[in-house]
């Protein structure tokens, strides 16, 4: 096995792995080792996926979740970018307040959900707040780090042309920070999705998280698998799209 592994070999191996997993799944489903439908047969999951594709309720809930994630990303992302620019632009402010964001970032945000319910009610507001709170931290930290990485020469060129603060932001800072900003957006999207969906599973009457809990309470296991597959596929797809659109390779930036 040399370093020049042919792409064909990789593709074939992937197909073989997928095939093996599906075969093992089907064997487990038919074995009767687990309670009925805990591992449903592939045919049942495919049927549930087909049913989901034609269910108007699914699209209504998908729109609800997408709107909540979109608004939370817009609010949390813009506040995160503003905070990041402020902290990255001032050494004193960065040293004073960035450690708080750095250490608060990896805390479990879902425990703030009762607070968000008190502040914004049990409707979409509290879910949006959860998503915004979740995505604020990675966006702010990455923006601040990106701000500090800007080549000093570019900033001096902008100042020598007497660029106004707005011109500095749009002509120098944002173009020079496009990779960190997009990376922040990508990470922010990932955590906003988690924040919104988890909040929907806890207390909601709409959204994909609510649908997952409905399947759970009705013991509709094929339906739950189908929903989880769709949610995972959508999350990975949007993540990959943001990376590709921005020319990002997650391992490089």
């Amino acid at each position: 096995m040399t370093s020049g592994c042919p792409a064909l070999g990789v593709g074939l191996l992937r197909l073989a792995i997928l095939g093996t997993i599906l075969l093992l799944w089907e064997a487990l489903a038919r074995s009767g080792l687990l309670f009925r439908d805990v591992v449903p047969s592939l045919a049942k999951i495919a049927l549930a996926l087909g049913h989901l594709g034609t269910d108007p309720d699914f699209y209504r809930n998908l729109r609800g979740t997408a709107a909540e994630v979109g608004v939370s990303l817009a609010i949390g992302g813009s506040i995160g970018v503003a905070a990041g620019l402020l902290l990255g632009g001032s050494r004193l402010l960065g040293k004073a307040f960035e450690p708080y964001i750095h250490y608060l970032g990896p805390t479990p945000k879902i425990i703030f959900f009762p607070v968000m319910i008190m502040w914004f009610g049990i409707g979409p507001g509290s879910k949006i707040a959860m998503g915004a709170l979740s995505c604020f931290f990675p966006v702010a930290l990455i923006t601040a780090a990106g701000m500090r990485q800007i080549d000093e020469v570019l900033i001096r060129v902008g100042r020598s042309f007497r660029a106004r603060p707005w011109q500095m932001a749009t002509k120098i800072y944002f173009p020079a920070m496009r990779y960190p900003l997009l990376n922040g957006l990508r990470l922010g999207f990932g955590v906003a999705v988690i924040g919104v969906l988890l909040a929907e599973t806890k207390m909601s009457n709409q959204g994909l998280g609510f649908m997952v809990m409905q399947s759970y309470s009705q013991f509709d296991m094929p339906g739950m698998y189908a929903l989880l597959l769709v949610v995972f596929a959508l999350a990975i797809l949007v993540n990959a799209t943001i990376s590709r659109l921005g020319g990002l390779d997650s391992t490089q930036h």
Binding site: Y100, P106, S215, M224
Partner: protein
């Protein structure tokens, strides 16, 4: 004397940070006392501070902390064992690595914690569900960093080992593994952070276990001050854990 401005310059950001935090708390206290902020929605910071004693004495916060820590430890053990073994396996089989690495990276970006209703059905509403969620969510970073760690072993070290006619097993245990250990630890630490976040989150969501359940119970009892105190306690525990693991990681990277 010359060092004094330097020391002052170092203290200024910390003082500004702490001062800013104190100012926000004081402002919140004032706004609530003036009636501009509803105290039935946001409790007085002073009440929250006093409630710490109550959650320690009456709500058994320490035994709940131990329950969460036990779950996190079990998940960490599983993540370290499985993640490092799978990472080493992927590194040894290059074709398999090329086929699977992007899948593992995709899983690292997927909202794995959403699997908890499924795990509730499979394992029941008990600690095993929480540990398994912690394990599953912590696994991808541990695998990815282990692969990265082994891939970064300097070739010259391996060549030295081969020149001493070491067997493949000796090459692995005496050279590749020690060399990759600091990066592997970074992965295990990341995995542990993901595990801890999801463990507390699932405890809160399914109302079972340690600290997460405490926050949920206090919210359901509408004991606002104690609920805020419990949230602060969870944050303090997370931050302490994060700082300790970060320091350990730095020490490992320095000594490597």
């Amino acid at each position: 004397m010359a060092n004094r401005p330097l020391a002052e310059a170092k203290c200024l950001p910390a003082a500004l940070g702490l001062g800013g935090l104190a100012a926000v708390l004081a402002l919140t206290e004032m706004l609530i006392r003036l009636g501009w902020v509803n105290r039935f929605i946001v409790p007085l910071p002073s009440e929250v501070f006093v409630s710490f004693e109550r959650i320690i004495l009456e709500e058994n916060v320490l035994s709940r902390f131990l329950a969460t820590a036990g779950e996190a430890l079990a998940a960490a053990f599983l993540v370290s064992l499985t993640g490092v073994a799978l990472g080493a396996f992927l590194h040894r089989h290059r074709l398999l690595r090329r086929a699977c690495e992007s899948w593992v990276a995709g899983l690292a970006a997927a909202p794995l914690v959403l699997l908890y209703p499924l795990f509730l059905v499979i394992f029941g509403r008990n600690a095993l569900t929480i540990v398994m969620i912690g394990f599953v969510s912590g696994l991808p970073p541990a695998i990815l960093k282990t692969v990265e760690g082994f891939a970064g072993t300097p070739k010259v070290l391996l060549d030295v080992g081969r020149s001493f006619s070491l067997s493949p097993s000796q090459l692995f245990w005496k050279i590749a593994f020690p060399s990759a250990l600091p990066v592997i630890f970074v992965g295990v630490r990341l995995g542990l952070m993901f595990s801890l976040i999801n463990i507390v989150g699932v405890e809160f969501l399914i109302n079972f276990g340690g600290l997460g359940q405490l926050v949920n119970e206090l919210a359901e009892r509408y004991d606002l001050a104690a609920m805020y105190a419990a949230i602060c306690f969870v944050i303090l525990v997370s931050v302490f854990f994060f700082i300790a693991s970060e320091k350990l990681e730095r020490w490992l990277l320095r000594s490597a």
